[in-house]
Symmetry: C2
Subunit: 360 residues, 2 copies
Amino acid sequence: MRGIVKKSAIWELQLVRKLCVAAVAMLASSQASTDDDLMRAARQIFKPIPSIMPAVKDNPVTHEKVELGKMLFFDPRLSASQIISCNSCHNLGTGGVDAGPTSVGHGWQQGPRRAPTVYNAVYNLAQFWDGRAADLKAQAKGPVQARIEMNATPDHVLNTLNSMSDYVVMFKKAFPNEASPVTFDNFAKAIEAFEATLITPAAPFDQYLEGDTTALNDQQKAGLKLFMETGCSSCHNGINVGGQGYFPFGVIERPGATLLPASDKGRYAVTEAASDEYVFRAAPLRNVALRAPYFHSGQVWSLKQAVGVMGETQLGIELSDKEKNDIVAFLNALTGQLPKIEYPKLPTRTDATPPPSLGR
Amino acid sequence: MRGIVKKSAIWELQLVRKLCVAAVAMLASSQASTDDDLMRAARQIFKPIPSIMPAVKDNPVTHEKVELGKMLFFDPRLSASQIISCNSCHNLGTGGVDAGPTSVGHGWQQGPRRAPTVYNAVYNLAQFWDGRAADLKAQAKGPVQARIEMNATPDHVLNTLNSMSDYVVMFKKAFPNEASPVTFDNFAKAIEAFEATLITPAAPFDQYLEGDTTALNDQQKAGLKLFMETGCSSCHNGINVGGQGYFPFGVIERPGATLLPASDKGRYAVTEAASDEYVFRAAPLRNVALRAPYFHSGQVWSLKQAVGVMGETQLGIELSDKEKNDIVAFLNALTGQLPKIEYPKLPTRTDATPPPSLGR
């Protein structure tokens, strides 16, 4: 029952959700003696990814908008250097992230944090590790302007888009009721619409949640049970197995400076509340097995090691080798079906397209 | 008949092909009074791209090899930084090239030459601007090792590939008769096989060469006629409308240092023959309208301007505004159908995969 003790510690921080605790308590009381109990408990904490894409607030997702957004996502000419696209750091071929540890941007500058995945990002309560963007359309305006990422300006983006008639036509189709649809807001909305299609249903765990008890093997079930009993699911829950709340990195024991550099105070930079120092959005764990290295600092290359770190820092427990292996087996069951993406043929630059700029 | 004079100058350099001259002479003698004459002359100089991919010497192209090659082409983890792939500089979404003027590689270092396109590269007589690689499999070993490009070593490539079982399985399938198929040679062969699929048939000019006189409009036909009469087709001929021979940049008049930097002596670096100073492979003009900026130095952003430069430096003629527009219209008819490419889902890195290295 060591998990219960640790959950009390989290309770003191008022950061856990009643739902999780109730479900885990139920599981603990019954000792999860049957598959049915395990599935019932899991269903109270997690939700499967549906096979249809979600609706997006204030931004109806249409085919035209998605196609435009895909082009924008892959177009490096929207960066100052014209060699960096959204896909450079959120590579759809490698789980929606780059190789890490943290991203490399304009001028070979290295950013402070690991790129978060775009897959299933639409399900997060907010975007970025610190939740500073309310949604994907707000997020999409960030990296394109960041000096150490794409280093562009809204003017560069709009001049570039307006220089290519194919883009202008696509904006008109994607935003049919607007007189001047080529705007920075619509650029962001189109990217958001495309990203809303980047969902990965049909992971073994989804099939399990939908009632197929054979979708997880025994080791994965043992891992799922541990994941709930020890308290992992206090923070990593819901449809994205995380991404739904903010928690200190180091609930019980503060990690070393390699994993938690003192200079990056996480959500504190957003809220300036002392209680938000070193607080981050709980990492969504969908497809986590595809996305080493781990944590916002990207310093842990092994998923098993990351599980161990979480046990120590967040739960105050030292997981055994077998327990870590079981949890990793469960996490592997979170790998879903990545959507098929046809690589876009981008509009052709014209004499009016701004030239690249490599300087800082 | 000014084109004839200029062709004589090229003849003195013994660089043109008898076939072209014969065809142009025929065209000149008949004044190309009819569409039939024009088409007959064009068919003697150019060849349409077939709709089936070409065979590759010493490297049978199989589905398994192509699929593997596509993954390798898109996999940034094969570079030292793990953020640069073949596709970074030979972007299949922008005509098989990057934004230019010359490519940016490891450490934000800028290379000396414009990235050549991979589309239809299989039809070139040799690879690179100076033809230093005999074929695409030889070419594929270059940039991955170049210090200012991907900055990797064969060891890095093989260690990375061997660390991911999915890659090992794919190499076994692509090279079924080999005991240890994960080799640097086979890495290059798989990329060559994929690149052999990157052909772009069915351009309006292909349809024209295949007998459809309506596939080119009157302006494009006027441009085609000029292209042959003035002597452009002396160097830019064959299936790739170029890429078939080596010629000095500045046959008649040497371009300024911006377009022809003194430090880059072109093919001289390969052969060390004085006659090869500032000699380059004639640019293949398939899809040229997609690929600004132009020339090996990538300093001319307008296709019309590039046509003017070619007239002055290679043919010693000043083309009129109308003539340049007509030739550009013809060059636009060289844009073919780009193949559909499904963006690959790459194998997942493991604890054994080498970490990225950003330093020089």
